[in-house]
Amino acid sequence: MALAFDEYGRPFIILKEQDQKTRLRGLEAQKANISAGKAVARILRTSLGPKGMDKILQSPDGDVTITNDGATILEQMDVDNQIAKLMVELSRSQDYEIGDGTTGVVVMAGALLEQAERLLERGIHPIRIAEGYEMASRIAVEHLEHISKKFDFGATNIEPLVQTCMTTLSSKIVNRCKRHLAEISVKAVLSVADLERKDVNLDMIKVEGKVGGKLEDTELIYGITVDKDMSHPQMPKQIEDAKIAILTCPFEPPKPKTKHKVDIDTVEKFQTLRLQEQKYFDDMVQKCKDVGATLVICQWGFDDEANHLLMHRNLPAVRWVGGVELELIAIATGGRIVPRFQELTTEKLGRAGLVREKSFGTTKDKMLYIEHCANSRAVTIFIRGGNKMMIEETKRSIHDALCVARNLIRNNSIVYGGGSAEISCSIAVEAAADKYPGVEQYAIRAFADALDSVPMALAENSGLQPIETLSAVKSQQIKENNPHYGIDCNDVGTNDMRQQDVFETLIGKQQQILLATQVVKMILKIDDVISPSDY
C-alpha cells in the first residue's frame, strides 16, 4: 500500500497496522468489485430458465445439495469476497420478499455491472452511471405496469394461478409433474388465504417430506402431520372426532423453579410423599379425562407411570411434539395451548375429525395425521421422492410456487414470462433514453442492453443462438407492437408467451429490477476497498 510521507520522510500512519493491509482505490477498486459481482452472476447464469442446469454444492461436512434455486446456491457457496457477499444478500432479499426470481435478479445485476464497466472505461463518472440506472429502472418499472395484465381468479377458478405456478416450477427438477405440484401449491395457498385482506400466512402451510415413493405421490393434507407416534405402543392408532388437549406441561412430578429440598426424616413423611406422588399422577390424567379430551398432545415427555395411566384410562397421547407443530395443531384444531393442568377446560380443547397413525416402508417410520380439523386453515404438503436431495429440492421448489401464488393473491397482475417482459422493457427504455439530455443517456441505454441479458441467457441455456434469437424476437415485438413475444425455450414452435401460458408475477419482476439496480448503485459508489492482507 502506498504510504504518505511527511517532509522529514517519516511515513504517516493513518490506519491501524497500515502496512499489513491491502488497499484498492478509484477506478481500480470499482473494476475489482465489478469483476467479483460478474463472477457470481456467471455462476448462476446457467441455472436460468426451463433448460437451466443444476449445481451440486458440497458443504464443509460433506453433505450434498443439488439445486437450481439461486438463493440456495449462493447461500451454500461459502463466499469470501465482500462484493460477492452483497450479491448473495441481494438474492436473499429477493427470496424473502418475493420468494421467486432469485436467479434472475443476480443475472440482471451482473449484466448491469458489466455495462457499467464499459461506461467507466469511457470516463463516465460512476455516480452519473448510478443516476442513469436509477432513471432507467423507474422507466422500466412503469413500463411493466403498463404491459401487465390483471386476471381474475376465485376460489373455483384457480386455473390462472396454477398456470403461473407451473411457470415457476418448470425450471426445477420437479417439472416432470409440475401440474400436480402447482395444483397442490395453489390449493394450499387458497385454503390458508384471507381473500378479503389479500393476505396469506405461509406459516400455516407446513411442508413435510419423507423419502420413498415417487414424486407423484406428493399430496396435500387438510390438516397437520406430526413425525411422532403414540407414546404407548398399545394405544389406539385411529381416533375419530378427537378432542385434543394441547399441553406444554410434562406428565411428570412438578419441578418448581426455585431451589428446594424435601427432607425425609421419618417413615411417615416417606409414605405421605409416596402417596402424594401417586395422587399427583392420578390427578393429571383425571383432569384431562374430566374435560373430555380424547387425545393428549404434549410438548414434553411422560413418566412411565403416567404413560401407563393414560393408556389405562384409554386416553391416547403423543409426547415430544415440537413447539412449532404444537402451534400449528392449535391453529388447525381451534384449540388453545394449555401450560398447566389446572387451566384445562373443555373450551380449550381442539377438535379434529380424524387422527390416525400411518407407517411407511419397511422401517418403523410412523407419522401421525390430524385431519378434518375444526379450522381447516392449516394444511400440510407432504412430499415423497426417490432420495433425500430430491425431497430437499422439491421443498424449495414448492416454497417458490407457494410464494408466487401468494404474490398473485396480493396483487393479481401478471406479466408474460420467457424474457418477453425484459425485452419489452428494454425497447421502452431504449426509446426513452434519447429524450434525456446529458451523460445519463448513455447509462440509460446501457440499462436497456443489460435488460437484454436475461432473455439472452434463456436462449443460450436452451441451446438456441442467443443473438440471433433475441434480435428476431425484438424486431417482432416492435413490428407487431406486441409485448408478448419471448424466447421459445421449450421448442413449442411459437414465440407468443400468451399461447404458451408462461406467466410471471408483476411484483416479482418489478422487485427484481429495483433490487438489482439498488445493489449495482451501491457497488458503483464504492471507490476504496481496504482489507487486511493475507497472513
Partner: protein, 527 residues
C-alpha cells in the same frame, strides 16, 4: 485486474464439462463396484471397518455395501442415497437400482459426448421411463383372488430374492420360512412382529420358524422352569429401588435407627408393589427394567416366574403377541389386560438357554431362529432374510407380480425401443439409450454367471419379439428359459421402485453443470 477469489480458502469449483465428467466418473465407479454382486451368481464383498477392532462384514446386499463406503464424490452420494431409500421403502433391489442408474449415466455420457444437450436426454429418459412402466403394468399378473396361487407366487418371489444371497443353497427352506412368517402377519407390513434370533452353531439348514415367541433371557433362580396356561403381566416399571420422583426429595436423618426405619419403609413399599403385582393373579412377570434380588425373591416365593431386563423391542413384541398391555402402575388389577399363553418353558438352542412362549393369543408374531457356522454367516443370513421378508410383506399389499431373470427388463426394453422408433427428434437417441441401459441388467447377470452374455442377450431379444413370451436368463443351465416354468418371479412394486428412482437419480445428476465444494471443516485434534 484479475478476478479476485470469491470463495473461501479451499473451496473448489468445477464447471461445465469437468463437473459433468466428475459426476459421471463417480457414479460409474460406484456402479462398477456393486455390479458384480448382481444376480444369482453375483459375488460377495468383504467390508472392513476403520473403527476399533476392524470388524469384518461379508455381504452381497447393495445397500449394506454402499452404506459402509466413505465417498467424497457428490454424484456417488446420490446413488448411495437412492440405494438406501430403496432399502427402507421396499427392502430389495438395492443393487439393481444403483446399477440401472449407473448404466443410464453411462449411456448419457456417450450421448453428451456426441453433443446432445443433457436436457434433451432427460426428457427422452422421462418418456422412456413412463413407457417402460406402462409396459410392465400391462404384463403384471395379479393373483389376489386366488389364495393358493398367490401363495405360490410369494414362494417364487422369496426363492428368487434369496437365490442371489448366501442362503441360495437352502433357498427352498428359507423361502418356506419367510412366506409362512409373512402370511402370519395377515397383510400388515409391520415386520416388528417377526423376530429374528441369531445363534451361532449348527448349519443354516437347522434354522427354524417358531410360531411362538422366544425371549433371549434366562429364568431367575429358584423359579419354575415351565408354566402351563401362563398369565403374563408385561411391565415397564422400576423394580430396583422405587425412587420418589418428586423433585428435590432426599433423605436426611439424624440417627442410625432412623436409617433403618426408612430402609424398612422402602422395603415395605417394594413388598407392597410386589403384592399388588401378584394380586393380578399372574404367574409370569416380565419387566423392561432390572429386578433386584429382593423382589425377585418375593416373586420366587409366590411361584411366579420373573424375567428382568427384557429390551424395549422385546417388551413391545411380547405385549403384542400375548395380548397384554405394558403396565406401569398396579393399583387396579381388574382392568389391566393380562397376556396369556399356553406354555412357557426354557429351551436350549446351541448351548444358550432361552425362554419360549408358545400357544400365544395373537397368531401374528413368530420367531425365526437362524443357525449358522459363524457370526458373519448369520449376519448375512439375517440381511438376506430381511430382504425377503420386506419384499414379501410389500407384495402382500401390492399383489402384482412379474416374472424375473431379466424378463421385465427385456419387456421394457422392447417397448422403449418401439417408442424410440416412433419419436422424432434428438430425444429418440436418449430413448434408445434408455433401452440399452435396461438391457445392461440381464447382460450383467449373465456376465456374473460366467456365461456368454452377448449371445444370451441376443437370443433373449429375439425370443421377446414373439407376443407374450416368458423368456429370461436361466443362470443355472446357462441358457434362455421360460421364467414362468422355472418359477422365477419378482414383485412389481420392487421393479417399479427400481425404475423410477434410478431414472430420478440419473436425471438429477445429469442436470448438474457445476460442482462447488466447500473446504472440509477442520477437525480439532483430539490429542
Amino acid at each position: 485486474m484479475a478476478i479476485e477469489k470469491i470463495f473461501k480458502d479451499d473451496a473448489t469449483e468445477e464447471k461445465g464439462e469437468r463437473a459433468r465428467m466428475s459426476s459421471f466418473v463417480g457414479a460409474i465407479a460406484i456402479t462398477d463396484l456393486v455390479k458384480t454382486t448382481l444376480g444369482p451368481k453375483g459375488m460377495d464383498k468383504i467390508l472392513q471397518s476403520t473403527g476399533r477392532g476392524h470388524g469384518v462384514t461379508v455381504t452381497n446386499d447393495g445397500a449394506t455395501i454402499l452404506k459402509s463406503l466413505h465417498i467424497d464424490n457428490p454424484a456417488a452420494k446420490v446413488l448411495i442415497d437412492i440405494s438406501k431409500v430403496q432399502d427402507d421403502e421396499v427392502g430389495d433391489g438395492t443393487t439393481s437400482v444403483v446399477v440401472l442408474a449407473g448404466e443410464l449415466l453411462r449411456e448419457a455420457e456417450k450421448l453428451v459426448a456426441s453433443k446432445i444437450h443433457p436436457m434433451t436426454i432427460i426428457s427422452g429418459y422421462r418418456m422412456a421411463a413412463e413407457c417402460a412402466r406402462n409396459a410392465l403394468l400391462q404384463r403384471v399378473v395379479d393373483n389376489k383372488e386366488n389364495a393358493e396361487k398367490f401363495k405360490s407366487d410369494l414362494m417364487k418371489i422369496a426363492k428368487t430374492t434369496l437365490s442371489s444371497k448366501i442362503l441360495s443353497q437352502d433357498k427352498e427352506h428359507f423361502a418356506q420360512l419367510a412366506v409362512e412368517a409373512v402370511m402370519r402377519l395377515k397383510g400388515s407390513t409391520n415386520l416388528e412382529a417377526i423376530q429374528i434370533i441369531k445363534k451361532p452353531g449348527g448349519s443354516l439348514k437347522d434354522s427354524f420358524l417358531d410360531e411362538g415367541f422366544i425371549l433371549d433371557k434366562k429364568i431367575g433362580l429358584g423359579q419354575p422352569k415351565r408354566i402351563e396356561n401362563a398369565k403374563i403381566l408385561v411391565a415397564n416399571t422400576a423394580m430396583d429401588t422405587d425412587k420418589v420422583k418428586i423433585y428435590g426429595a432426599r433423605v436426611r436423618v439424624d440417627s442410625m435407627s432412623k436409617v433403618a426405619e426408612i430402609e424398612g419403609a422402602e422395603k415395605e413399599k417394594m413388598r407392597e408393589k410386589v403384592q399388588k403385582i401378584i394380586a393380578h393373579g399372574i404367574n409370569c412377570f416380565v419387566n423392561r427394567q432390572l429386578i433386584y434380588n429382593f423382589p425377585e425373591e418375593l416373586f420366587a416365593d409366590a411361584g411366579i416366574l420373573a424375567i428382568e431386563h427384557a429390551d424395549f423391542d422385546g417388551i413391545e413384541r411380547l405385549a403384542l403377541v400375548t395380548g397384554g398391555e405394558i403396565a406401569s402402575t398396579f393399583d387396579n388389577p381388574e382392568s389391566v389386560k393380562i397376556g396369556h399363553c399356553k406354555l412357557i418353558e426354557e429351551i436350549m438352542i446351541g448351548e444358550d438357554k432361552l425362554i419360549h412362549f408358545s400357544g400365544v393369543e395373537m397368531g401374528q408374531a413368530c420367531t425365526i431362529v437362524l443357525r449358522g457356522a459363524s457370526h458373519h454367516v448369520l449376519d448375512e443370513a439375517e440381511r438376506s432374510l430381511h430382504d425377503a421378508l420386506c419384499v414379501l410383506s410389500q407384495t402382500v399389499n401390492d399383489t402384482r407380480v412379474l416374472l424375473g431373470g431379466g424378463w421385465p427388463e427385456m419387456v421394457m426394453a422392447k417397448e422403449v425401443d418401439e417408442l424410440a422408433r416412433k419419436t422424432p427428434g434428438k430425444k429418440s437417441h436418449a430413448i434408445e439409450a434408455f433401452s440399452r441401459a435396461l438391457v445392461a441388467i440381464p447382460t450383467i447377470i449373465a456376465d456374473n454367471a460366467g456365461l456368454d452374455s452377448a449371445d444370451l442377450v441376443a437370443q433373449l431379444r429375439a425370443a421377446h419379439h414373439t407376443e407374450g413370451c416368458n423368456a429370461g436368463i436361466d443362470v443355472i443351465s446357462g441358457s434362455v428359459g421360460d421364467m414362468a416354468e422355472l418359477g422365477i418371479s419378482e414383485s412389481f412394486k420392487v421393479k417399479q421402485a427400481v425404475l423410477l428412482s434410478a431414472t430420478e437419480a440419473a436425471e438429477m445428476i445429469l442436470r448438474v453443470d457445476e460442482i462447488i465444494t466447500c473446504a472440509p471443516r477442520q477437525r480439532e485434534d483430539r490429542m
